[in-house]
Symmetry: C2
Subunit: 244 residues, 2 copies
């Protein structure tokens, strides 16, 4: 029985796991459920939850739901196939990978997911990250809508500052080494891809990456991996250009 991933590749959690499965040449099935009501697609596939969407992973009797636990499981179970550097050749390397995996989970994930989430609510042409905070237009907005936008602006700004401080540490680290845990692409880097690539691709948040040259170089390198490019293709919803 091949491994099974339940969820949508549009979710950061699912994207993280699929990238790892592609890196490790693991045979798996992706099981997706889309809901429709007559001609309208129910929009849950677009919902960007602040802290991850539903994901479930089954592999030979094991069921896991936390994406980083799943990465470790895949790297361990399939250690002799595909990219063998992902979880390090030995205990020393693994300790460094673990440290950065935990930094991602504990410090990078929340502010980056909050930014992605608030960006999905804020107008695509709103200037943000200008150093002066975002500015809502003065008039013409329903008060409850305005309140929601202001809340999103605040969440965006707070997360942008938190993430900026963290990325200063990354900038330094990536000045010493090509990748977070050393000279090889590992789970530590892979785990950052879904949110980091979304922030870099959005003009409203790209400065966070672009203004740091080592972080930029790192993200450019890791987001060019075949495994990730493949996942990004699968993220485009087939009905993105649907006439409805």
């Amino acid at each position: 029985m091949p491994a099974k991933v339940f969820g949508s590749p549009a979710s950061s959690e699912v994207a993280r796991v699929m990238t790892c499965l592609f890196e490790k040449d693991v045979e798996f099935q992706l099981i997706r459920v889309d809901s429709f009501r007559g001609p309208k697609r129910m929009p849950q596939y677009l919902k960007l939850q602040p802290h991850g969407e539903a994901l479930s992973f089954e592999d030979g009797g094991v069921t896991l739901v936390e994406s980083r636990k799943i990465l470790r499981h895949i790297a361990d179970k399939y250690k002799n196939q595909g990219n063998k550097d992902l979880f390090g050749p030995g205990a020393l390397e693994r300790a460094s990978i673990e440290q950065w995996l935990q930094t991602e989970a504990q410090s990078f994930d929340i502010p980056s997911a909050e930014m992605v989430y608030s960006l999905s609510y804020l107008p695509p042409d709103m200037p943000l990250d200008t150093g002066r905070g975002g500015l809502l237009p003065v008039g013409g907005m329903h008060p409850s809508h305005r309140q929601k936008m202001e809340e999103m602006l605040q969440r965006f700004e707070k997360s942008r500052k938190d993430l900026g401080k963290l990325l200063d540490i990354y900038e330094q680290r990536l000045g010493e080494e090509e990748f977070l845990a050393g000279s090889k692409f590992t789970l530590a880097d892979l785990s950052h891809l879904p949110n980091a690539d979304r922030l870099a691709a959005d003009p409203r948040s790209a400065r966070l990456i672009e203004s740091r040259k080592n972080v930029s170089r790192w993200l450019y390198t890791i987001s060019g991996r075949d495994s990730w490019r493949r996942v990004k293709e699968l993220q485009r919803p087939p009905s993105a250009e649907a006439p409805f």
Copy 2:
């Protein structure tokens, strides 16, 4: 519990059922399974089976696998919602719809599916339907490959002739009425959409449609329906342009 469709919208059978669900404004879930082996997608989603792919439909304890039975079930169970003309307002209209549904299932489906299937094997630039049969290039082909191509050419040619004779009857009918069963779009027309639209869209088979003006006008009208355009968008595999 919403109705559930298991299968890929790339399948003609699944596409037929989804078009009907969209017409009837029925809430449903589409459950898709894609298989991957490392960076390679297993190509089953592209396989055009000559007589239909796996499809399963569940609705309130009922499980059905034959697409036209599913159409009848949907039109009956949801008769008071969405497009109410699909299965006719009364017994008289329904008899005519049934007759054309059966013509589609018994006479149109096999040759049209055979053509779609053989086209998926034959070179996209091969001139076919020229009135002189398809011509394989003289040299440069492995004998087993050549044998397969010749078999496909024969299947294409035989089906093209069978379908041409049938479409002459359609041409006459559609000179008398706007749609197959009368003045309204019904299940009779809907059931033809997946294969007819594929044949019209492929330059190697389009002449079969284009050379018959009433059939052309009819297919142009029915393939412009929102329900069908929606299904076509969902048929495009998200990884169609993937770099692998």
